[in-house]
């Protein structure tokens, strides 16, 4: 007899207990964020006083916005994220296509060399990469923040796996029609890999929106600082201990990502899943 319900789901008391546990953990997990919302939307005197009827205000956001060049930081971050993603999409697509469908000299050795980056990430090579950027006279530019990440081993790997699943017949058919290699890539492979591109894009954007240490090192002016570094400069020097303003700034910097996540939750979760399954 086959039942629709999974028999290994808890029932009765066990179920109630597990539901309670799951909810308690979820509330604990959301607590820091909920708390940040409370502080940011209430006047400073309520930052540790929890009264249901405390007046709501947007003043903290206005103060934070006025206290530091956040508009510029936002633009920098958006340019950075777009630059990295655009470069990654082009470079990784071309490289993945080569690895998936070309039999060229040294392919397997080169692929291993690409995979090295999965372990030796630019994040840990800060000393030498800073030296390189200084030698190229690129320090304190958005390009310098993005350059080490543009050839992503992760992206190449992900797209290579996907391109390998494209049936050879489609490839051959397109070539019989007279399409060139790049036309085949553009007309056959790229459209079929669309979900993977979406997944990679979301992971890349959220990763680089949040990246901190390397931008902190390689930038030193408002002109190139991304939001994360701007937030750190703002909260460590300018504000002393005005928590309301700091939490408002904090929510502001994570805002676009948070809103995008809440709106496209399913896509986010599925993208991270897809990107993680190797």
């Amino acid at each position: 007899m086959i039942s629709a319900r999974n028999p290994m789901q808890p029932g009765g008391w066990g179920r109630a207990l597990e539901t309670t546990g799951a909810w308690l953990l979820a509330l604990l997990w959301i607590l820091p964020l909920a708390y940040a919302f409370w502080t940011a939307f209430h006047p400073p005197e309520f930052s540790t006083r929890f009264e249901l009827l405390a007046p709501l205000t947007l003043q903290n956001f206005a103060n934070a916005w006025a206290a530091a060049p956040f508009a510029r930081y936002f633009i920098n971050t958006m340019v950075l994220v777009a630059l990295i993603l655009a470069a990654q999409l082009v470079l990784c697509t071309l490289a993945a296509y080569a690895f998936a469908r070309y039999n060229f000299f040294g392919r397997d050795v080169l692929f291993m060399l690409v995979l090295v980056q999965l372990m030796v990430m630019p994040d840990v090579l800060i000393v030498e990469n800073y030296r390189s950027m200084a030698a190229l006279d690129l320090t304190d530019t958005i390009l310098a923040i993005g350059l080490p990440y543009m050839a992503s081993a992760f992206g190449i790997f992900l797209l290579r796996q996907t391109f390998k699943t494209v049936p050879r017949e489609l490839d051959d058919a397109a070539r019989v029609e007279g399409a060139s290699s790049l036309q085949v890539l553009w007309k056959v492979y790229v459209p079929l890999a669309r979900p993977v591109y979406v997944a990679f894009g979301l992971v890349s954007v959220s990763h680089h929106w949040n990246n901190f240490l390397w931008p902190l090192i390689v930038t030193n002016s408002v002109n190139s600082r991304p939001l994360t570094v701007g937030l750190q400069v703002f909260s460590s020097t300018d504000q002393g201990i005005d928590w309301s303003i700091i939490t408002a700034a904090t929510l502001m910097t994570s805002g676009p990502l948070l809103v995008a996540f809440l709106l496209f939750q399913r896509q986010f979760v599925q993208s991270f899943m897809r990107a993680g399954i190797r």
Binding site: N6, P32, Y102, F105, V120, I126, A151
Partner: protein, 291 residues
């Protein structure tokens, strides 16, 4: 397409990515090794070959041993806890519990937030006298404690933040794996009279083994890579009690400007990451579902 043009096409397609990878991954890795054998150039004095002096100095540097020990504790504190929590979350979210959408959202949200931003929020939690944690312990009548300012608790505070940030991320991989497991297995187990715990231990957990290894390697890498929250919350203090290896490298390189010593330290970090890579290679090569 003839063979020669296949070679040329392949190389041309790969070239742009290869150039950038070589310039910002392979070259810096070798340059790190090279510079770790030189002295730090100071003023008009250029770098000279000093052999293993930097490494000698490293072995005699008590701070190096301290941050290495801290990193070990950090790894031990974050990895098992975040993996166990991730698995628990995934099992719960995969089940038909009430409010599943909210649960998934709550668990996963920390992953999409910048570490630098959440560290600011947590910083306020831990703040002396009027932070949230102090208020809670205060109402319970417990003595006041400077959580981030004392050597005994600073690292633990960072571990908690890291677990909170990572668990939801790892949950996703378990969730993906759980969803790919056929429900007929649960039915077969039920017919055989297996209990829920037995089913989890003897069927689910072995099936999730490849995922666990994948998550484990990621957790190990993260334990050496995540230092953003240190910059915000403790700056490695008090007395380096909460400094990790990468944070120490950052300090040595960009606060004391001793790039040669920072290179030697980076070599240690690279060796550790390399060991993690070998571990993954050795295990994932023979990824079997059944023991």
């Amino acid at each position: 397409m003839n063979r020669a043009s296949a070679h040329i096409h392949g190389w041309l397609l790969l070239l742009p990515a290869a150039v950038l990878l070589a310039a910002f991954t392979h070259f810096p890795a070798f340059a790190t090794l090279w510079h770790s054998f030189l002295s730090t150039p100071k003023g008009a004095r250029p770098a000279v070959w000093v052999g293993l002096d930097n490494y000698q100095g490293m072995l005699e540097d008590p701070v190096f041993w301290q941050v290495l020990g801290n990193n070990l504790w950090f790894a031990l504190g974050t990895i098992p806890a975040s993996i166990a929590l991730a698995l628990l979350m995934a099992v719960w979210v995969n089940g038909k519990l009430a409010g599943r959408g909210f649960l998934r959202m709550a668990y996963f949200t920390p992953t999409v937030l910048p570490m630098i931003a959440v560290a600011n929020i947590w910083l306020f939690f831990y703040t002396p006298t009027y932070g949230l944690l102090e208020q809670v312990t205060g109402t319970l009548g417990l003595p006041s404690h400077n959580w981030l300012g004392s050597q005994s608790t600073a690292l633990a505070c960072l571990i908690v933040v890291t677990i909170w940030k990572e668990a939801g991320f790892f949950m996703i991989f378990y969730l993906a794996a759980l969803q790919s497991i056929s429900p007929s297995l649960a039915e077969a187990a039920a017919i055989e009279g297996a209990g829920r715990w037995y089913y989890f231990r003897r069927v689910l957990f072995p099936l999730l083994m490849p995922t666990t290894l994948f998550v484990l390697v990621n957790a190990v890498i993260n334990s050496f890579r995540l230092v953003d929250h240190i910059v915000v919350m403790t700056r490695g203090g008090p007395d380096n009690a909460s400094a990790l290896l990468l944070f120490y490298i950052y300090e040595v390189a960009f606060k004391y400007w001793d790039s040669a010593y920072a290179s030697a330290l980076t070599m240690v970090l690279l060796a550790l990451l390399g060991a993690a890579a070998l571990l993954q290679f050795a295990f994932l090569e023979k990824r079997t579902h059944y023991q």
